[in-house]
Symmetry: C2
Subunit: 477 residues, 2 copies
């Protein structure tokens, strides 16, 4: 190997381990060294127990080669709104209390309510990954319950003065900084895709409910989706295999851009896009055209103009239900925004809530039909590179445009940080490769109809190869 | 008091405790004595730690009167698909390991996979109830993951040779048998309403997502709903208060049946209803008419005939996602039905899944409009009294009719144990009071549009008083 293990993608690591060139322990030590070198600058972790990681890695090395599972030894960071249990029977010291404490992997949601909370349970997604041989590395930072925009301590690995985005801040930064190859995020608005773009990595939000959300904190049942980070599209396919994602038709084995039909979805707020986002979209289109793709510009039907408003209404109403437990038990430890949801400070009526819920539902097949005419539809992941400051995980103005990268609402109820595409349940992949005026990464999103996840990943591989090679941004951490 | 404490409703117990006539400990001891007397016959409990109950009761008695919460001392049984943690710092014995074990309240899902599993976490609903002063009593039996029809050990309190129904078998039986006043159930098909009818108690399935499902095992995100059991409609209102259920318009303070407009929803399979179910519906109508209610018979639009088929399709597809974790980790411990979901043995395409999902979504506002014309719509809770045998929680034939009490599907994909009304997200209340040919209880359901929960409870109080007084069945346990 010329590269250090921590620099490899998951696919590459699997190859090295399979070939007997790398042990899981050596791999874990390489990642931990990277973290030791970089943690002060990036601060991606909400919880990391180095001894526990090594202990798990050693256990994985003991598994006979013939009994190894598909993700054997792959390190995965878990956003701290997803349950993880400690390793059973793991004893860290002879002090029983300390052993007990140390073998727990807490789940804290960036909330004082859950400090040191250690439910002895794995989320459904974590159970699947663990059984598939993954090395569950630790917990990564998040905004409070993945439901606010107040940034955690985490900094963008490409510029410590900038946000890594949120709410999946730590997973995005850790994967972007080569501290782990794979990260779990979640998305209710842009929480997976935005950090993907800001950190220069692949981000994948699969079709809603195609992967279990068991054990993942609820904000909105109808919107929340598990998300993935990786540094290659091939790595996303590894995950799609493990989670048994399956389209009706097998995805093309070797999708070619030449002759394929793409669309660009702009909106009436396109003029507000930042120079970086605009340049990325232009470059994306010209790169695909140069390879022989057909690209046309499309719009969504006018009757869907209120989609973002409907989405904001659903989200606020769902927050009313989702945070009642914390409000009831310890309201003073809940941030003002979330208290506002529970108290319905926007006085959203049940009628408005249901109208919004039903209108979004009616829009889903309409948008699927439009998307189905193309290999994929391109839309900005974010308006521009990561903004300065870590207090906010993405400014309202930026997120407004990201949100409306698909559809723009004129309604006054529209909340700029919410992205209507999430409500449509479609899969989305952020492809990195472009850069902003300050040299920070910017991605472009590809979207496909619901349950065309494998198709979208196949397209993302081909498109990603082009964007990464010629988009103009190179990872430099 | 003339009645023994265990015979009281929650509302009555609150009154006694508030008046200083009853301590929580004395109340708990009365319930435990009832359980001791009856547990061999009914077997409603999956987990019950008597010492833990007494310890909690004593702690509640220590709370100063001025600091007591709205459900102070009310015993609640929790279906064993809902997370419960033990009491923090509760030490049961001097043996530390035993103390640890004893202070856990496990969550086992009637699955060998989770035997002795003790996640240290409360479901959102349990957290709210605990903070509201409830005495979290223990865990009640369920079918496997509340997702099959294979009965647990539990027997109907009114006839040990009959099923209490399922999947919320234990909660239904425990409340029906006066072992606790309130039980938590869940409903994906008829899992709350059916045991309500079979056990002669009130059952309330609120509007979907009006109460958090955090910490409740997922079968279908779009269908699963928390449910409640009680022995009075007033008790359901207590719960609705604690869970902050709120309609747009305040519910009538004193709903009167006289002059109110009801509807009866029959279907093309009405001829298949059992004699008990048919008689209950007839009696319900005649009792309401005798009190001056207007009642008309209605049908749903023909284009909704496939609703049960759509619902079965969604449920099977959602099972594919929901049980992948258990399938991945320990397939051999998963029942054949659930393995079948994961393996998609019915080869349901993604297109069919989405068509069904979208069609149900489109049906919701249509049905709400129809329901909104009435004070409530009457529909059978079950076709007949609880059948003999405890192997199955409700026969296919019975459930078929229950299912189609609302809508009947001619599609061959239709699964008889599934009830389409669940898919419509509307609130439903089972009102007890009628009896079958063998003297077993039968209920009738009242249905209202989404987010008319408080309205429906107000109507249920008035209707329940009539049905319980004159329906012909009296509790005799």
């Amino acid at each position: 190997m010329t590269a250090e293990p921590h620099q490899l993608t998951a696919t590459e690591v699997l190859h090295e381990i399979k070939a007997g060139k790398l042990t899981v322990e050596a791999y874990a030590r390489s990642l931990l060294k990277r973290i030791n070198d970089r943690d002060e600058a990036v601060q991606a972790w909400a919880y990391l127990d180095r001894d526990h990681v090594i202990s798990q890695a050693k256990a994985l090395d003991q598994v006979p080669v013939s009994e190894r599972d598909p993700l054997h030894g792959i390190a995965i960071a878990v956003k701290d709104v997803i349950y993880t249990k400690g390793e059973k029977n793991f004893v860290f010291s002879t002090d029983r209390n300390r052993a007990k404490r140390k073998s727990d992997m807490p789940t804290q949601f960036n909330s004082p309510i859950y400090v040191d909370d250690a439910p002895q349970v794995d989320a459904g997604s974590v159970a699947i990954l663990r059984k598939s041989g993954a090395l569950i590395f630790g917990k990564t930072t998040t905004t409070e319950f993945a439901a606010t925009t107040v940034g955690p301590k985490t900094r963008n690995p490409h510029d410590p003065n900038r946000t890594p985005g949120g709410s999946s801040s730590g997973s995005g930064a850790a994967v972007g900084d080569l501290q782990v190859p794979i990260g779990l995020g979640t998305q209710t608005g842009g929480s997976t895709i935005r950090p993907g773009s800001y950190n220069g990595i692949y981000a994948f939000k699969p079709t809603w409910n195609s992967i279990t959300r068991e054990g993942q904190k609820i904000y909105s049942l109808i919107l929340d989706t598990l998300g993935f980070y990786a540094r290659s599209a091939a790595d996303l396919d590894l995950l799609a295999d493990v989670f048994a994602l399956a389209d009706d038709k097998p995805a093309p084995l070797d999708f070619g851009v030449k002759g394929a039909k793409f669309a660009v979805l702009k909106t009436m707020v396109w003029p507000q896009i930042g120079s970086g986002g605009s340049a990325a979209m232009e470059k994306a289109v010209s790169l695909l055209r140069a390879r022989g793709a057909e690209i046309e510009e499309i719009e969504l039907p006018e009757h869907l103009n209120d989609l973002p408003a409907w989405r904001a209404t659903v989200l606020d109403s769902d927050g009313r239900t989702a945070f009642l437990p914390e409000y009831t038990t310890t309201k003073h430890n809940l941030s003002e925004d979330l208290v506002g949801h529970v108290e319905n400070v926007k006085t959203i009526s049940r009628k408005a809530q249901l109208d919004a819920f039903d209108s979004i539902a009616a829009a889903r097949p309409v948008v699927d039909d439009i998307l189905s005419k193309y290999a994929a539809v391109l839309t900005p992941s974010v308006p521009d590179e990561a903004p300065l400051g870590i207090e906010k995980t993405g400014s309202a103005a930026f997120c407004l445009i990201w949100t409306v990268s698909v559809i723009f609402a004129r309604s006054v109820r529209f909340e700029p940080q919410l992205t209507p595409i999430q409500a449509l349940h479609t899969p989305v992949v952020n492809i990195p490769g472009f850069k902003g005026d300050n040299g920070m990464p910017i991605g472009v999103s590809l979207v496909a109809p619901r349950y065309h996840d494998r198709h979208l990943l196949a397209v993302s591989r081909a498109v990603g190869d082009i964007f990464e090679a010629e988009g103009g941004w190179k990872r430099d951490v």
